[in-house]
Structures are given as structure tokens and as C-alpha cells.
């Protein structure tokens, strides 16, 4: 019984952490897989979205859920504009020029937010029904973690359906697998890119808001957790929604378990684990054989 409770709490904690990773990273994976664009500003969009959410709650007294929707929409719109005006000029440029561009963009995002709002952490206040503990029968657990898991499952199911069952989803899958072929079949790649990019950034914003409870929210958020997001994308495989989901869960749960039972090793585990996984499966656990 004690063991059962232990395992349950471990799984809950790890899965909840994994869900945040998934929600933020999924957009990155799809944009990198679909467009072949190394978008290091993805964390920046998560940060901007988080700020939009926090500001909406603080200034206009918007509720948490409404603010999340607001953050998603605003960030998606801003990123769509940036994609059309700037990103699209660099689709044919080298990866390194893309890195330079997106890092420059991150610097500008961080500096603007610092100047406009200030360098301090933005508190996101959860509504009362998300605070405290929930009785799950065998154990009590943090309500918010449980809710996050439910939200994550809903999102991944929605994404999966959208990817597998809709026309746009099929077009995206086709473009990820073979862009030239998809283009020659008359798929409007430009529109697809904008759509996907905006959606991915919106998801990042959502993740920024939902994850603020664990990860905090300040201008440096844009770079602080980027490595984690990249790890999830690399391990999951580029452009694979389900791959990112499993990778995020795997890393979330393993990281949680190892930290609890062997805290001495610090953060080393996650890196060692990534190295092993990538050496075993260089294209990611769920990636295509060639990418």
C-alpha cells in the first residue's frame, strides 16, 4: 500500500511536469520538423505569452482561464505577423543564420519586457479551485498537478485528432515527410507555415502560463528552459506530436523519480539520459529514419 502511494505520487508529479514540457515543446517540434527552421525564439514566445496572461489578469482582472485564451490568441497573432514579415525571409537561409536571427529576437524580447514591465518575476495567481489538495482515493495530491494532467491529455488528444483526422493535419504531415512532393501536389505551403507557426507559438504561450506555477515567469524564461524544450524535441523526433508527448512524459517521470531518490546527482541525470537515448536512436525515439 505504501509502495502504491509512493508510485502514484511519483507518477502524478512526473507526468504533470512532463505535460508542461509537452505543451511548450510541441510547437517547437512541429515548426522545426515542418519548416526546418531552428527557432530558438520559441521560449521567447512562451515568455511573451506568459506575460500577456499575467498582465491581463493583473490589469483587467481577467480570470485565469480567460487570460490563458487571451495569451494564446495574442501570441499566435504576434507570431503570425513576425513569421510573415521576418521569418519567411530566412526559410532558405542556412541554419546558422536562423540561429543568429532567432537569438537576436530573443535578446530583443527579453530587453523589451525588462524595460516595459520590469525584471521581476510575475506572479500568476491560480483561482481557488485549482489550489490545495485533491483526494484521489489512494492518496491526496496537488490539485493543480492533477488538473494539468487532464488538460495535457485533452490537448494531446485534440492535437492528435487534428493531425490525423483533418485536412490541414494531413497536409502538415505530408509536408513534414516530403515538402517538395507536398508542394507539387498543390498544398499551399506558405499558408501552412504561417498557420502552424502561429499555432505552435500560441501553444508555447499556453505552456508559459500553465507552467508558471512550477517554473516561474520572468524575462529570462525565454532562454532558461530552452535546453529542456530542445531535449524533448530531439528525443521525441522532429515534427512528431506523439513523439514529443511520450518524450516529455518519459523525461518528466524519470527526472522526477531520480531527483527524489538520488538528489545528490543534481541535474546530471537528464543530460546523461538524453545522451544515451540519442546515441541509441539518433533521430529521436519516434523520428523518421531519415530527417
Amino acid at each position: 500500500m505504501i509502495l502504491g502511494v509512493d508510485v502514484a505520487s511519483m507518477l502524478l508529479g512526473g507526468v504533470a511536469a512532463g505535460m508542461v514540457l509537452f505543451i511548450v515543446s510541441v510547437g517547437l517540434s512541429v515548426t522545426m520538423g515542418l519548416m526546418g527552421f531552428v527557432n530558438l525564439a520559441h521560449g521567447g514566445f512562451a515568455m511573451l505569452g506568459g506575460y500577456a496572461i499575467a498582465q491581463a489578469m493583473k490589469l483587467w482582472g481577467l480570470g485565469f482561464v480567460a487570460a490563458l485564451v487571451f495569451g494564446f490568441v495574442v501570441t499566435a497573432l504576434v507570431s503570425a505577423v513576425l513569421e510573415r514579415l521576418l521569418y519567411s525571409r530566412l526559410y532558405r537561409a542556412s541554419e546558422l543564420d536562423q540561429v543568429l536571427f532567432t537569438i537576436g529576437l530573443v535578446f530583443m524580447m527579453i530587453a523589451s519586457v525588462t524595460v516595459l514591465v520590469g525584471p521581476e518575476n510575475q506572479p500568476l495567481k491560480l483561482p481557488p479551485f485549482l489550489q490545495g489538495q485533491l483526494n484521489l482515493g489512494i492518496t491526496h495530491y496537488r490539485t493543480y498537478s492533477v488538473v494539468l494532467i487532464v488538460v495535457g491529455v485533452v490537448i494531446v488528444s485534440g492535437l492528435w485528432l487534428g493531425f490525423e483526422r483533418t485536412r490541414t493535419g494531413a497536409q502538415i504531415r505530408a509536408a513534414v515527410d516530403n515538402r517538395r512532393m507536398a508542394e507539387s501536389l498543390g498544398i499551399n505551403i506558405g499558408r501552412l507555415f504561417t498557420l502552424t507557426f502561429a499555432f505552435g507559438s500560441g501553444m508555447a504561450a499556453l505552456g508559459g502560463g500553465l507552467g508558471a506555477e512550477f517554473l516561474g515567469l520572468d524575462p529570462q524564461y525565454a532562454l532558461k528552459y530552452l535546453v529542456y524544450f530542445l531535449i524533448v524535441v530531439a528525443v521525441g523526433g522532429l515534427g512528431r506530436v506523439t513523439g514529443v508527448f511520450y518524450a516529455a512524459l518519459l523525461i518528466g517521470v524519470l527526472d522526477f523519480t531520480l531527483k527524489k531518490y538520488m538528489p545528490q546527482g543534481g541535474t546530471a541525470f537528464i543530460y546523461a539520459l538524453t545522451i544515451l537515448l540519442l546515441l541509441w536512436r539518433p533521430q529521436g525515439l519516434f523520428g523518421a529514419k531519415t530527417a
Partner: protein, 337 residues
Amino acid sequence: MTLQAAGWFEHPAAVALARRHRLRAWEPIPWLLAVAFYFVFPKYLGFGTELLITVLFAISLDLVLGYAGIVTLGHAAFFGAGAYTVGILAKRAIWNEPMSGLVMAALVAALIGLGSGLVLLRTQGLTLLMLTLCTMALLEEAANLAHDYTGGFDGLDSLPIAPLLGTFEFNPLYPRTQYLYVLSVLFVCFIVVRTLVYSPFGQSLTGIRENTLRMHAVGAPVRRRLVLCYTLSAAIAGVAGGIWAQANAYVNLGTLGLDRAATVLIILVLGGYGRLYGAFVGAVAYMALSHFLSKFYPTAWQLGLGLLLVVIALFARNGILGIAEAAARRLRPRATP
């Protein structure tokens, strides 16, 4: 520099190689500027020393990134390995002579480069990027855990580095010796790298970067060459780290961090990779801008720096030197055959 020899020297490939290797008229300029800096800005030598070390580090990265096409985000692993080699040897009073210390730093870094290169260079793209990054992060964690040797997060301070050549002290407040010492080491390393990239070995690296499959087809030992290049680059990065530790009399975890690895990558891409001098241009542009902007706008300087990166990425292909080359081509349409 004219060619006079006969035999294989007359082979067209050899002629082409030799022509590329030829010293161009503008090449002494950066070195003259670096020497002039010493006399004109005696109060900026601390900054100047850091700048030259960054140039050296960026050159080591250029060797793998610009010439062999290996995109890595973990190059600070070697910088840090060199820095800690010098730091631990000096702090434990085992060895504190600067020049031989650099050799040891290079050896240790090369060894790590060889080991990790053998394992990691099977992969490429994002996978390689993440593998190099995670390897570096693991080393950083190891340095953090090995507190007794490395000083952990605090690092090793007040390293007792012996005077250069037994006479020139490293003054912490007026780093004249450090500047000239770093400049000399940079020059030597630069000559080595320059000779290397214009050698047949360097040409085969470029071939691998441009078309790996074809290089396999012509029977070049691709993996072996890549690993060798990676090891050499690691050694030079180790020298950069070692000399950083000596010039600062200090090592800490920052030498192994992602910040340093990412910054040097940005600097190289900003200046223009695959052309050696991109390291100079990028380092000067990036560091001077961030240094002086942060002096005048301590809280908002990142905006200007970000803008520079965005503009260069949007309007130049391959960095600032890319612009310069395009301009030169436009001015002299038929200057080179």
C-alpha cells in the same frame, strides 16, 4: 609569393591550393590594430585581453563549424577543460609555469575532444547539437560535484601563476603582460590553423562539409578526418581556456557553461564562419557593442545587440564579412579569376 618549383607543384589543384594560401595584402591589418590597441588604449587592456581570448576560442570553433561543417553547441566543454587543467594544477601547487601549462591544457582538452568525437560524430544536425550540449552540461555538473578539486560553484580563485618567462608578472589591475602574452599565443595558434585549413587535410574537410557522400565515394576516411579535426579544435579551445585561467588567475563553472558556448557560436556566425577572420570581426563587433552599450545603458543594452543580430541575419549572408565580401565583389567585378 610565387611558385617556382616543378613536378607536382604544377598540378592545377596544387596551384589552386597555393593561390588560396597566398598571403593577402590586408591580412596584417588586424594584427597591427591589435598591437596599436596596446599603446592607444592602455586602460582597456582587461577588455582587450578578454576579446583576444574570445577570438582564439572562436577560431577553434571555426575550424569545426566553418571548415568541417560540424555544428556544435558544446564547445565550451574544451574551453573549460583547458581552464580547469591550468586552475587545478596551479591551485594544488603542482605546476604553474604559464607556457607549458597551456600545452597541458591543450592535451587534456584534446583527449576529451578525441573521446567525445569518436562517440558523437556519428550523428549530425539537431541530434549532434543536443549531444554536444548535453556532454558539456555533464562536464559542468561533474565540475560542480567534484567540489574538492574544482571549488564547485565558487571556482578556484587567486591562482598562483608564475611570471611569464620567469620575469613578467601578471598584474591583476594593469594586465599589460596578459595582453601581449595572449596576443602572441593567438598569433601562433592562428598560423597553425591557417596552415591547416589550406593544407590538403583542410581541403578534404571542406569537401566533407560540402558533400559527405561524395567524399565517401572518393574513398576519403571521412569519420577519421572529422574526429581529427574535432580533436585539434578541442586542443585550441583548451589553449584558449587555459590562457583565460592564467590571465584572470581564476576558474569557475562559467568556463564550461552554455552561455559561453552559445556566445562564441553567435560571435562566429555574426562575423562570418569558414573564413578565419570572421572570428576577429564577430568578436570585436559583439563584444565592443555589448561592452559599451552596457556601460551607457546598463539595463537595456540587449535591445541594441539583438537588433544587430537580427539585421545581420536578415540582410547579410554569412555574417558581417559576408557583407564586406559582397561589397568588394561589387567594387571589383573581375579582380580574381
